[in-house]
């Protein structure tokens, strides 16, 4: 059966093909070939996805493309890809951002060795393909597969600099923390499967809603936990700031369109189910608002641009979760799209500026950027404006305003959340503009320079997009089946004033020496109120200690899963088998053997060879038999 939805299969396919060719293909490829394959693999999904999105806009936007069905007893495992407004919007965003970031990488990674480059591009393409699989998934298996592959790719990409132990540790941390959350998601999906007996999302969500209250609550809470881990929300947020050890384009992809944003997408996908459990919804909203404020406050005090942007991602996804918790998944997805654009723009332009500053990613590396790297700086300022939410011109304002409005309209509980989110919005403008103001200061006599086409084209496209998407934010919400909430004008005015207050604060922090010194000294805030350190003490160290104990203090590779059975077996042999092993049991067994030899020696004496003896034995035997026969008749 040939339907237009067959093209869905072609969306992740080029990126997956590029991964297979680069990652597993045996052929030797030179630098140019590697770059070409990677670029083709990244651009083709966008080429396929855009017409699909357009097709979706034209009306028929509810299609399933089955991959294959497997029936096991009553259960049906039906793998499929799915096109609906949600996956269309997110799919288009992901493919476009992916193409931009991988295109940008060609220039950014130009100095890498060819094998490293090949590894890098293979993983980036797999990363993109797995996110697309997850977004377009029509069943829980493809969804979970994409989700897990993303975690794996992020580990490899964060630990891209394999010679740096810090990078490896950061990758491991990201992997382990997201793995913990993945376990929750897996549990939720399995519970849903038990309810539905089918893996299709179209069957799972109604089955989840139809389940009894306890199971429904459990499933919703588990899904939320999975999303929190992947999206680096409180209390799982610590992996994201460390993940800055990877190359900048990795961060750009990881923070904007894939991985971190996947948690918000997951919650939007399961929104009908989540909305059936008010308690979990309230928890989502509270955690979202708390994370938004925490991330923004920590970002203000960062010295490093990349760490600043990492806390910014944590904070922005907190905003998305707030919207999801308030029952407005359409608003959250609109913010997802806008955030993906400006966050990748910020990372790419900051990467370009800091790369020419000899690799340091300190905010001070931005100094004089307006003159030394004008295009990237202007793009960064555009991204920062969208992040801060400058009213009416930037896309960021429309989506963030919608979230704030949703909070305001959600009753008295919502007003508290609105206050928290508004504070976060002010701080957002503050941290967004600190690097911008730093870039304005002029040092020496700078010579303006421009990067190559692969650097500038994606940056320019994304910079234009941050403004071009602004009028599209409300249509996106409507397309997804929601409506932009509108609060009273006074509230809207306060929202519009917030970014300017934040910018004034940023200017003060940058140009008033006393204040900037204070920021520089605020170590506690810079480490994200030391939550990482607390985790290190209460979770990581006891765990490491336990593992040491399990491996018998030998050190080496710690493997609790392997050592516990070995330890138990050792204890068991010591207690039960060793006392018997060498003495009584062994001797008894060998004694039986020796006794047999003696018995044989005694037995062969009967065999005298004399006829008379045999005759006597025969007679005695007969007599004995007769005696027994007589005995049996004797009652």
């Amino acid at each position: 059966m040939l339907t237009p939805f067959l093209a869905l299969l072609l969306v992740p396919a080029p990126a997956m093909g590029a991964f297979l060719l680069l990652g597993l293909g045996p052929a030797e490829l030179n630098r140019r070939a590697v770059q070409t394959v990677a670029l083709v693999g990244a651009v083709l999904p966008a080429v396929v996805m855009l017409p699909l999105g357009a097709y979706c806009l034209m009306g028929t936007c509810d299609g399933i493309q089955p991959i294959f069905d497997l029936t096991v007893g009553d259960a049906v495992v039906a793998l499929a890809l799915k096109l609906d407004p949600l996956s269309a919007i997110v799919g288009v965003t992901v493919t476009l951002i992916g193409a931009c970031v991988i295109g940008y990488s060609i220039d950014y990674m130009a100095k890498a060795e060819v094998p490293d480059l090949r590894r890098y591009f293979a993983l980036m393409n797999l990363f993109l393909a797995s996110m697309l699989c997850m977004v377009l998934a029509g069943d829980s298996i493809v969804l979970f597969l994409g989700w897990e592959l993303m975690g794996l790719c992020s580990f490899f990409l964060i630990a891209y600099h394999v010679t740096s132990s810090r990078a490896i540790a950061a990758g491991r941390k990201a992997f382990v923390i997201t793995r913990v959350a993945d376990a929750f998601l897996l549990a939720a999906l399995l519970l849903l499967f038990l309810e539905a007996g089918n893996v299709r999302l179209d069957a799972l969500i109604p089955a989840g809603i139809a389940a009894d209250e306890l199971r429904q609550g459990l499933i919703a809470a588990l899904i939320l936990a999975g999303a929190l881990g992947k999206s680096a929300q409180l209390p799982f947020h610590t992996w994201l700031p460390s993940a800055m050890a990877g190359p900048t384009p990795v961060s750009a992809l990881l923070h904007s369109a894939t991985m971190v944003a996947a948690g918000a997408f997951l919650l939007a996908r399961f929104a009908p189910l989540m909305q059936a459990v008010p308690l979990v919804m309230a928890l989502t909203a509270v955690l979202g608002a708390a994370t938004a404020l925490f991330g923004a406050a920590s970002a203000v005090f960062q010295k490093d641009v990349k760490r600043l942007l990492a806390y910014s991602s944590i904070s922005q996804i907190g905003f998305m979760l707030l919207a999801l918790g308030l029952g407005e998944p359409e608003v959250a997805i609109a913010h997802f799209v806008v955030h993906a654009i400006f966050k990748s723009l910020l990372f790419l332009s900051a990467g370009d500026i800091t790369q020419i500053a000899r690799g340091t990613t300190d905010i001070s590396a931005m100094r004089g950027a307006l003159w030394s790297r004008p295009l990237a700086f202007v793009a960064f300022a555009a991204g920062a404006a969208s992040l801060a939410g400058i009213p009416l011109v930037t896309a960021g304002w429309f989506s963030k305003e919608a979230i704030l409005a949703a909070a305001w309209l959600a009753g008295p509980f919502g007003v508290v959340l609105w206050l928290v989110a508004m504070t976060a919005a002010v701080l957002t403008a503050t941290y967004a503009f600190r690097p911008v103001f730093t870039g304005l200061t002029r040092i020496g006599r700078p010579r303006p320079s421009l990067g190559g086409i692969f650097t500038n084209l994606p940056i320019a496209l994304l910079a234009v997009a941050t403004f071009a998407v602004a009028p599209l934010v409300e249509p996106i919400m409507e397309f997804l089946g929601g409506a932009a909430p509108h609060p009273p004008h006074a509230v809207e005015l306060v929202g519009a004033a917030a970014p300017f207050l934040g910018i004034a604060l940023a200017a003060a922090l940058t140009f008033v020496p006393g204040l900037s010194l204070r920021v520089a000294r605020a170590r506690r805030m810079r480490s994200g109120i030391r939550i990482d350190g607390i985790y290190q003490v209460i979770i990581v160290q006891p765990f490491v200690k336990m593992v040491r104990w399990l491996t018998g203090q030998r050190g080496g590779i710690a493997d609790p899963v392997g050592s516990i059975p070995v330890l138990v077996a050792q204890r068991l042999t010591a207690a039960a088998i060793r006392p018997l092993a060498h003495d009584p049991l062994d001797r008894g067994w060998m004694g039986l053997g020796a006794g047999m030899v003696r018995a044989w020696g005694a037995g062969r004496r009967i065999q005298s060879g004399r006829v008379r003896d045999y005759a006597l034995a025969l007679a005695l035997g007969l007599a004995l038999l007769l005696l027994i026969a007589w005995g049996t008749t004797w009652r």
């Binding site: 065999q607 005298s608 060879g609 004399r610 006829v611 008379r612 005759a615 007679a619």
Partner: protein
């Protein structure tokens, strides 16, 4: 049970026991063959007595059987005796124990 039958059975058991004793106590192969013959007469007598007691001719039939058996046994036994006497001391069966090795 009549006194005749009891006496006959006791006599038969005695004949068998005498034969067995002869077989075990004597060493000469020839005497052992004779002792076997005596042993056979015991059951033969018991058959005849039992047949007479029940008025059944099968007892006498069995006696004829035993006679035939005894005759063939003697024929075989004497042949073996002659064969054995050429190789070893037939006067002492205890010395003939080569099978033991």
């Amino acid at each position: 049970m009549s006194g005749f039958l009891t006496a006959a059975l006791v006599l038969a058991a005695g004949l068998f026991a005498v034969g067995l004793f002869g077989l075990v106590a004597r060493r000469g192969v020839l005497f052992q063959i004779i002792a076997l013959e005596i042993m056979l007469t015991g059951p033969a007598l018991a058959f005849v007595a039992a047949g007479a007691h029940h008025g059944d001719p099968a007892g006498q039939g069995m006696f004829v059987f035993v006679l035939v058996l005894a005759a063939s046994e003697v024929a075989l036994g004497l042949a073996l005796y002659l064969r054995l006497a050429r190789h070893a001391d037939a006067g002492d069966s205890d010395t003939i124990r080569e099978l033991r090795r």
